[in-house]
């Protein structure tokens, strides 16, 4: 039953990413050129809705569908890893035009070269795992 829930959420998310054009390389390019409000509107309205939902859930102590307490995991307090890691991701995001969600939706959409991007992203994650102790966090 839960498996079906995750699958349906994934299907829905994949459709939203494709139909919103957030999975389009062109939209990412346009966003970094500051030439359109579209991507800012998507992220901004997602945030407004997300902030309201999360703050309400916390205030009201909403339980999960299964009656468990919902955990919001606080991020480690640091600047290096977020700024450096974030910038490295940003370079790749703008070049490949895909972040880790859209790349899977694009695979389903039939853009097979995206599989190379996914394989490379797995490789990049592996390299991070090897170098992790040597990087400032």
């Amino acid at each position: 039953m839960r498996v079906l829930g995750y699958l349906l959420i994934g299907i829905f998310f994949g459709i939203v990413l494709m139909k919103s054009e957030a999975a389009s390389w062109f939209r990412i390019y346009e966003m970094f050129q500051f030439r359109s409000f579209h991507m800012y509107g998507i992220i901004g309205s997602a945030l407004v809705a997300g902030i309201i939902a999360v703050q309400l859930m916390k205030k009201k102590g909403i339980k999960s569908f299964y009656g468990d307490t919902i955990h919001f995991i606080p991020k480690q307090k640091s600047v290096y890893r977020y700024f450096l890691g974030g910038s490295i991701f940003g370079l790749g995001w703008a070049l490949a035009g895909a972040c880790p969600g859209p790349m899977f939706a694009l695979t389903g959409a039939g853009y097979l070269p995206v599989l190379i991007v996914i394989a490379a992203a797995i490789f990049g994650t592996f390299i991070y795992g090897l170098l992790r102790d040597k990087l400032p966090h």
């Binding site: 139909k19 997602a46 972040c99």
Partner: protein, 185 residues
């Protein structure tokens, strides 16, 4: 109904993405896509090379099911919910892109110069895919999240580390588009 087949406006898409995050929270999970890359490393046996990949990846299987759903969703959206793949970017952006050599700007979903199977034999195209993907994989894990984990989940929970990460996303993106693109294309 017809509006369903056209590209969805930002004010519909954004709240629907927030809904995905809320649904996952209600399932008792956290919205974050890039952690799947770590899980896939672990499944491939990366735990033998680095302790970072020695964790119970079976506990992350739910997220791989979400990924499987996304592949299906991408298929459905393209084949049954779209009339036309064209992305309606502005005329000025189309012009700039054509000058850079992207002939299909304004008429396709992804640039054929990078994402068509025929161009895969071109070493430059292949390098773009490999380098772009590697930077995404390395950067997201270093930053502990991507657009979903930081820009949506983290910021919705008002966590300042996520704001630092999102500023980083933009610093990297702007560097690539404004400084490196003119050298690459």
């Amino acid at each position: 109904m017809e509006a369903l087949f056209r590209p969805w406006p930002w004010y519909v898409s954004g709240p629907l993405i927030a809904l995905v995050m809320v649904l996952l929270l209600m399932m008792g999970k956290n919205f974050g896509m890039s952690s799947n890359l770590r899980t896939l490393c672990a499944i491939c046996g990366a735990g033998n090379a680095a302790d970072f990949f020695k964790f119970d990846w079976r506990a992350q299987r739910w997220n791989l099911i979400v990924v499987l759903g996304m592949v299906i969703g991408g298929f459905l959206a393209t084949n049954f919910l779209s009339e036309d793949a064209a992305v309606n970017i502005g005329p000025k952006t189309v012009e700039t892109l054509k000058e850079l050599g992207f002939q299909g700007a304004g008429t396709e979903y992804l640039p054929a110069e990078i994402y068509s199977t025929e161009n895969l034999s071109d070493p430059k195209t292949l390098s773009i895919l490999v380098i772009g993907g590697s930077l995404v994989g390395f950067g997201t894990r270093y930053a502990g999240g991507c657009t979903s984990g930081h820009a949506i989940s983290g910021l919705s929970d008002l966590q300042w580390p996520s704001l630092v990460a999102v500023i980083g996303f933009f610093v990297g993106g702007l560097l690539m588009i404004h400084l490196l693109f003119p050298l690459i294309f």
